[in-house]
Symmetry: C2
Subunit: 248 residues, 2 copies
Amino acid sequence: MNEVIETILAHRSIRKFKDKPLSEEMVTTLVKCAQSASTSSYQQVCTIIGIDDREKKEKLAELAGNQSYVADNGYFFVFCMDYNRHMIAAEMKEAEIFETIESTEAFIVGTVDAALAAQNLSVAAESLGLGIVYIGGIRNRLKEVSDLLGCPEHVLPLFGVAVGYPDANPGKKPRLPLPAVFHKNNYQSTEETKDWLTQYEKETSEYYTERTGGKRTEGWVTQITGSMASPKRTYMKDFVRSKGLNKS
Amino acid sequence: MNEVIETILAHRSIRKFKDKPLSEEMVTTLVKCAQSASTSSYQQVCTIIGIDDREKKEKLAELAGNQSYVADNGYFFVFCMDYNRHMIAAEMKEAEIFETIESTEAFIVGTVDAALAAQNLSVAAESLGLGIVYIGGIRNRLKEVSDLLGCPEHVLPLFGVAVGYPDANPGKKPRLPLPAVFHKNNYQSTEETKDWLTQYEKETSEYYTERTGGKRTEGWVTQITGSMASPKRTYMKDFVRSKGLNKS
């Protein structure tokens, strides 16, 4: 165990921050950490839009489903898949690269690049005593978010990360049993998966029962299949295609 | 600056490892770190397949384009987007969730979940003095990789991470200038992007010229537009759809 592993294992999402902005120096350090992550074939497909403008933060909070911590935090980062840069580079070199950029493969590359960068930023922030929470909610009304931030074609805001001085100390919900998510040399059998899910349902049911004094008793299996029963953000396919991404 | 930030900023990909396997304890610690990452709406969409079977490693190395370090390392992890677990959960609860799972939105969620987990594992590995390299090459022949690992429908191997004791000390290529990837409150103008790309082309051209004694002089803009001119892995859209993902 070292400081790095301790920081990583201590992670929990923070949804209440003190009214204290990050210093400019901290923001720069965090962005440098983000940029230090691996990138597929040196393509560097991630752009980060840093938001400290109060009005924009409030608008983003509204678009993300009125999550107050999108506005009230120390700093807000929006992570984007960005192939606009490559399109401009191609124009400078009179090259044609849109077939690459429009592909499903490039959509995977861009999403991974942005997520690796974001996780570096998050771990670095936590090492400085800050708290973080990922905001997938910016995808609730992504066209409006994209317009608000002035994102051109081939740029897709993927998620936000709110960072700040923690003003809450939430518990940690139990994760799936390790053998359910870590298979050896071969994907595990359906029977094994079922067994782990049954065990996990029991464990999370007990966890919720205890935490809510019996008001809530359903475990992860019940909860997740309930929440996944209605598809969300069903406009996404068309919107992403309208941005010139994930088309072919 | 602390140990965490130092570890993150010191990252470089390692492509040559000593012939020494990771201890089982190390592997478990790394997977726990991976599992500690944020996950969208508690969905936990990532499954890791750990590969220590020599024959499978060699087959994977071949499928990834004969990259020797896919076979020769301390341990090899394959990160998968995994909605098979949720499908089994839904069956247990007689719920219908395939519309959610087949969506572009779910494809983003699953890719992000897997990448966050992988970056935690990578940073943790580096903190232990190990080296890592991401292997997007497993997507060269993804159907064969998926079959080799026995991945069912709704499971998509996304990339590998080779981990091991470093046997090389490579340099670090210059990344894009920070203001090119970090915009403030609004996506930057095309003129600004062009200026940064022009500066970066010069910087990387000088870097390569010096490193190769003048044999190679082209910078990032030239290199990347050249490498992106031919689309890669063009089968991806159909393959991903055949797995029941990224369809709607």
